[in-house]
């Protein structure tokens, strides 16, 4: 006879109004518990092998199995997570490249992590390197890649929009010939997002753009001036307005608001401005945490930033803005964990994370003149980093949603990282339940969800 156990990754919690909710980290199943079923659910969660007395109990038991709140006792949930992790990590079908056509930038952001370390690097990709890049893409497809995703990064990528259009055309042609889906996105400061760039962006297959605005004009202009110190806020804002009108939703735009102690209120103030400027429903907005060694910036502690995240979600909900999904199960924390994902600098050196770009000791290899990847031992460090080695991660209820956290922060600790006690926990550890409750409220208020 089959026996069952409760999942190690269950979260049972309630809203301030007393509405009871259940979430499972492995399956991502998120459910409302109706009052009349509370006792039955408690009975099965406490003892999954309790006798099923009637059809109502049977229905609820089946739902608990469906959401994986209860699992077959022979299943080792940690093994399932390991399979999910390793399967994704060494998947060869997808190729993800973050391409920096230039390391040059027109901004002088106070928290920039690239400026100093890239001072003496080649700042622009030359034609020979572009040809090599083309060979590299062709080789990757020959090796079995079925999906290509390019992220344009820098420096400031729009300084090289002509080159981006040229490279994109080459990659798109190769993808079309091989019937391979192609997607691209761009991280830009938005200052050069003028009419001249709109069509090239669309022609380059870019369907997502992230632009940073660090709050209202005074704060933003202090954090993100031009190299000569000139303000940038109003030009970026006008650019965004024209861009979303021109592209009519074909390119998603997300505004990132970097937050430190001096601008902790910035996302809320910016939200008001974007609303007044008619951007509600046209752009997404989210706060990002500044992590910087720069003494000009006082960074927020994780728990303070977590509060900003949840309060900001509440503000979005209240003001009727579009709403993100809550944290859900993931295979790996981010693409830096993946074998077939690279950040590529103008000289075709390879890194695993865009924050590592230009740091020689974090270089994992390069693309040779035949378009082949040449990897070094640093790549081994990144790809062998295994959150399952840490007792704290193995025991953690948040593991299916985090999968080890930021590997870049771990690698910065150097070769001794294996001696540390745990991974780099993301903020969801502090605010998962609040985010789930906000999502529940969103469903009730904005959709036809009739759980009540």
């Amino acid at each position: 006879m089959k026996s069952f156990k409760s999942s190690k990754y269950n979260f049972f919690f309630k809203t301030e109004e007393g509405v009871k909710l259940a979430f499972n980290g492995i399956s991502g199943g998120f459910a409302l518990i109706k009052k009349e079923n509370e006792k039955i659910i408690s009975k099965f969660i406490e003892n999954p092998n309790s006798k099923i007395k009637n059809s109502r109990e049977e229905k609820i038991f089946t739902q608990l199995l469906h959401g994986r709140f209860i699992v077959d006792s022979s299943i080792d949930e940690l093994s399932l997570l390991k399979m999910r992790f390793w399967n994704a990590r060494f998947n060869q079908r997808n190729l993800g490249i973050t391409l920096a056509p230039t390391l040059n930038c027109n901004f002088k952001c106070v928290y920039c992590y690239e400026r100093e370390k890239n001072a003496n690097k080649p700042i622009r990709m030359n034609d020979k390197k572009i040809e090599v890049l083309e060979k590299f893409i062709t080789n990757q497809i020959k090796n079995g890649v079925k999906n290509i995703n390019v992220g344009w990064y820098g420096g400031e990528p729009l300084l090289e929009i002509g080159m981006i259009e040229k490279i994109s055309k080459k990659i798109i042609d190769i993808c079309n010939k091989n019937q391979i889906p192609y997607n691209a996105n761009m991280i830009t400061n938005g200052y050069l997002l003028t009419e001249k760039t709109f069509k090239p962006i669309l022609h380059s297959g870019i369907n997502f753009i992230q632009i940073t605005l660090d709050g209202p004009p005074d704060i933003h202009n202090h954090f993100r001036p031009l190299r000569d110190g000139s303000p940038t806020f109003s030009i970026i804002l006008e650019n965004i307005k024209r861009f979303v009108d021109f592209t009519e939703g074909k390119v998603k735009v997300a505004i990132r608001v970097n937050v430190a102690q001096e601008n902790y209120n910035a996302p809320f103030e910016l939200l008001k401005i974007l609303e007044e400027e008619g951007l509600k429903g046209k752009v997404a907005i989210y706060p990002g945490q500044i992590v910087s060694d720069n003494s000009q910036i006082v960074c927020l502690l994780d728990n303070s930033f977590s509060d900003i995240e949840t309060n900001f979600i509440e503000a979005l909900l209240e003001k009727g803005w579009s709403f993100e999904l809550p944290p859900l199960p993931r295979s790996v924390y981010c693409s830096a964990y993946l074998k077939n994902s690279y950040t590529v600098d103008p000289d075709l050196n390879l890194y695993k994370c865009w924050e590592a770009i230009g740091i020689d000791k974090l270089k994992v290899g390069y693309i040779d003149n035949d378009g082949r990847i040449r990897l070094n031992e640093e790549n081994l460090h990144w790809l062998s980093y295994d959150p399952f080695e840490f007792e704290e991660c193995r025991k953690c209820k948040f593991l299916p949603l985090c999968m080890g956290g930021c590997v870049s922060k771990i690698m910065e600790k150097g070769p001794d990282y294996a001696k540390i006690e745990h991974g780099e926990c993301p903020t969801l550890r502090n605010n998962l339940l609040k985010k789930l409750i906000s999502y529940y409220k969103f469903k009730v208020e904005r959709t036809k969800f009739e759980g009540k």
């Binding site: 399956s27 993800g96 997607n183 859900l328």
Partner: protein, 42 residues
């Protein structure tokens, strides 16, 4: 129970690529796990 978000199905739990980013715009810009789509799988 009334599901607000449906759980992943068995094949998605382990063997199918699951988008590594889902909700996070920053990560979704960087994600290659969702068969080239930057949108969440649900």
């Amino acid at each position: 129970m009334v599901f607000i978000l449906e759980p992943l199905e068995m094949d998605q739990l382990v063997l199918r690529d699951v988008c590594a980013s889902y909700c996070d715009w920053h990560c979704s810009a960087h994600c290659v796990l969702c068969d080239g789509k930057v949108v969440p799988i649900r």
